[in-house]
Symmetry: C2
Subunit: 300 residues, 2 copies
């Protein structure tokens, strides 16, 4: 067995996701044209596809087929994309740039960017409930994972985290509040990615519990890494962050509360927890292992 190469894995799975996303967007209506262009620009503007790749990796571990996993992996990416478009709007972070490119609303206008986000969120659920998807899986399982994804994206997850983040702006926050925000705002969708992949591939309850803990640790680690990179001034190329945003003291971040060194320690600790949870699966878990290391080694 050759050594596992995470860069190759990210590239191969990333292009699988890209092709599927392109296919799904084309399958939906190309009209109205401006809305379609705004959606397409949002989806194809340099995202690393971490969430869908994580879902594929978790699914592959239990023998899940790409064909079955991709609709849900892509739905997760559509949800992530909508959250970024809305997050960049003047009503929230007011970021002109995203990954070094113009934000959606700087090209299509605020109104169209708002609608493109709304459309992407709606398309995510439209995609998961397509007859072609449903007929290949048990309908009850499809509903269960849709419910889980809606939970992770909604009040109890991503949007809830964003709302507390917004309320915390300019306020003194403690580490418990920062973790509350991180676990929901970023962690929930990453956890859902890992869990849904495993569920679709038929993981046992015990296996699913391991994957869940792995996903929880990874989700939190990911957001702390994001905070650290932003604090170091690498913000503009990262996912989920605008340029130098946190330096203005606008947001609740890990480094701003416990400092940079303690944040890095925490990330290394979370990586060890991640790796321990999947030790049980041996070499088959190399992709999950590689993903966790990939996320963390940017700062550790």
């Amino acid at each position: 067995m050759p050594a596992f190469n995470i860069q190759n894995y990210l590239k191969e799975r990333g292009s699988l996701v890209d092709r599927a996303l392109d296919r799904y967007l084309k399958g939906s209506e190309k009209r109205p044209q401006m809305l379609y262009r705004a959606m397409h620009y949002g989806v194809f503007s340099g995202g690393k596809r971490l969430r869908p790749i994580l879902m594929l990796a978790a699914g592959e571990l239990f023998g899940g087929k790409h064909k079955l996993l991709l609709p849900f992996a892509c739905a997760l990416e559509l949800i992530h994309t909508y959250s970024i478009i809305h997050d960049d709007l003047p009503a929230l972070d007011n970021d002109d740039l995203r990954r070094g490119e113009l934000a959606n609303h700087k090209i299509f206008g605020e109104g169209m960017a708002l609608l493109a986000g709304d459309a992407l969120l709606t398309e995510a659920f439209h995609l998961m409930s397509r007859p072609q998807v449903v007929q290949r899986l048990r309908p009850k399982l499809v509903l269960e994972v849709m419910h889980e994804i809606a939970q992770a994206a909604g009040v109890g997850g991503m949007v809830g985290g964003q709302a507390v983040d917004l309320e915390a702006e300019g306020q003194e926050v403690n580490i418990a509040t920062v973790e509350y925000i991180h676990v929901r705002k970023t962690g929930a969708l990453i956890l859902a990615g890992a869990r849904v992949g495993a569920r679709i591939a038929g993981a046992s309850p015990k296996e699913l519990r391991r994957i869940s803990r792995y996903g929880e640790f990874l989700g939190l680690a990911f957001q702390i890494v994001d905070d650290i990179l932003d604090a170091k001034g690498y913000g503009s190329d990262r996912e989920g962050q605008g340029e130098g945003r946190d330096k203005e003291g606008k947001k609740a971040t890990y480094p701003s509360v416990v400092g940079l060194a303690a944040s890095q320690d925490r990330v290394r600790e979370l990586l060890q927890h991640c790796l321990k949870e999947i030790e049980f699966f041996g070499r088959d878990a190399d992709p999950l292992r590689g993903l966790a290391r990939y996320v963390v080694e940017q700062v550790a």
Copy 2:
């Protein structure tokens, strides 16, 4: 059989919907508090519940139980509410008032209003996929109606209509474009309400075709009535419209293209089509008949 009273029907079914909405919102997380309050304000700010009541009426016609219909009826109202909150934002219509009360963003701020809309859309799909809902119906049917609702709300429906509406701002439009916008922006969700009610209650394909045509005519009539009321200056108390918005020539409306008299003729004609489609069902269709007349008689 006593004469059917539409006012009583609207009141009774409206309070049924209100109680269910309150229950569902409470069942979801009450934290984060500010987000919950913004969502609650949006849902309980004087909407007439036309879409969910229409779903109940279509379902009742085929013997559908309220218990089975209400989750989907409420999901439709959550989607309608999110669209109103986002529509009022400065990025789109920039309306300070909605039904005579302050718009969501005037109370909670633009960022929180944006998130409240996102949360309501997500909760709609969360609600429809709840285990309690799924176990009472065939999972495949649940997925089919969720897909239909996502279709009606997304690129091919409501959001698509809003996008074309936005593009048409300040431009000369013809009646075909106005109908394209109306059928999607307002019509799609009304049509989905009628169809999903009938499908959940087990309508036959032939019955469903009648209900579909009824819903199509009603959806278009509803938006033209909205246009007429706005042109007459009754805009601020209506659903889906801001104060005097259309008078500023900002939006593509029926009266602005064909005039007030021709618009009223068109509405009366659409009502006749509606009534003809459901003649077949006799007195059992009195609620659907009453709803159609109720919508139209405000202007005819």
